[in-house]
């Protein structure tokens, strides 16, 4: 599974989107556009990324720009997975 698939699948599960994530593209807006994405859901998403991908998110990286779109979140995950 590539980084974007991981992100989309985690969004689907964490936010319980009933399959809506299947139509997500890199341009899909997240923060402010998805009503399910409240602060508890963002936290669940960060924790999910850490646990599933074995990455560590620094506290100061919790930034609105990262969670703006599916593409920005995927870029962030890729930068974390890069050797």
């Amino acid at each position: 599974m590539d980084a974007m698939q991981q992100v989309v699948s985690l969004l689907e599960q964490t936010l319980d989107l009933n399959g809506r994530a299947a139509s997500f593209t890199a341009d899909t807006q997240l923060l402010g556009a998805l009503p399910e994405l409240n602060s508890m859901a963002v936290l669940a998403l960060i924790t999910g990324l850490e646990e599933r991908l074995g990455i560590m998110v620094d506290d100061d990286e919790i930034d609105g720009r990262v969670f703006a779109t599916v593409g920005s979140l995927t870029d962030f995950v890729r930068s974390k997975l890069a050797p």
């Binding site: 964490t14 602060s39 859901a41 919790i62 930034d63 609105g64």
Partner: protein, 288 residues
């Protein structure tokens, strides 16, 4: 077929820290159904919003266990749910004392026979409280963990992060965690997601570990449940934190079941496999 006995809701007067008298804790007792007396189970809830999100499934599990012959007590800890006190006045030690007092009350209330087990059942940070209570309990307790927090340090960090994510939505989260830590280090409370967290509670939680009690607490069993969404490529092995319990002589079982992380979402969630397999796991330990 015997008529089902409904759960009883009431307040229990339990002690506060020394010299502060007693205060009411909200309690829900599910009496054992059908004349069985397998043993008693005390449910220890997770913290803050996770308590609210998990109420429904905890109640469903409590009823299912009662139908299988267990007496189950759901207790709201001091400053939580419908119990007296403010969250901001709660301390970790007070909560451990609540768990021990609740367990003792339950043992006496259902006149638990010596051979019948008492089981502490904890969800998320509730499992950390169960582990600490088991280390201090005068008698062996069985343990049932649901998606336990494996360390208080991580649990506190995740909880403080809620404030960071909330601030991210409005402005920016840069430096938020550092500021919160600094406040707590200086003995001042911080507010997270509508909950005041005292410096005492934060330090107590941060030191909490999921480590097993000593040999005086045997024989005892630990059933550890994790939930996952059905999906290929996910880890399926037992978590490393289970190992010390095996080494300590606990009879352990790890159960991976399909179901959502229901404590994170306020929406309706169902976890029938978790409830069914929890009943099956505990029935192996109950009095016949």
């Amino acid at each position: 077929m015997l008529k089902p006995v409904p759960p009883e809701a009431f307040f229990l007067d339990l002690p506060l820290a020394e010299g502060r008298g007693t205060a009411r804790r909200f309690a829900l007792l599910h009496p054992p159904q059908g004349g069985h007396r397998r043993g008693a189970v005390l449910y220890v809830h997770p913290l803050a919003e996770e308590l609210n999100c998990s109420r429904r499934i905890a109640a469903q599990q409590a009823r299912a266990l009662a139908r299988d012959g267990w007496a189950v007590l759901q207790l709201d800890l001091y400053g939580c749910g419908d119990s007296a006190g403010d969250f901001g006045d709660a301390t970790w030690d007070q909560w451990v004392d609540d768990v021990l007092a609740g367990a003792e009350w339950l043992r006496q209330r259902v006149s638990l026979p010596a051979a019948a087990p008492l089981c502490l059942w904890g969800l998320r940070a509730g499992a950390l409280l169960c582990a600490e209570a088991a280390r201090r309990a005068p008698r062996p307790c069985h343990l049932l963990f649901w998606a336990p927090s494996v360390s208080g340090k991580v649990a506190l960090h995740q909880f403080l992060r809620l404030r960071a994510t909330a601030e991210m939505m409005s402005s920016g989260a840069k430096g938020v965690m550092g500021r919160l830590r600094q406040e707590l280090d200086q003995g001042r409370p911080v507010e997270v997601a509508g909950y005041m967290v005292s410096a005492t509670l934060a330090s107590g939680l941060e030191l909490a570990t999921l480590s097993p009690p000593g040999a005086g607490s045997l024989p005892a069993c630990l059933d550890w449940f994790e939930l996952r969404m059905p999906e290929p490529g996910q880890a399926t092995g037992a978590p490393p934190a289970l190992r010390p319990w095996q080494d300590a002589g606990f009879e352990t079982a790890f159960h991976l079941v399909d179901g959502p992380a229901f404590w994170q979402t306020p929406e309706f969630a169902a976890a029938p496999a978790l409830i069914e397999q929890t009943v099956a796991a505990l029935s192996r330990h109950g009095a016949p």
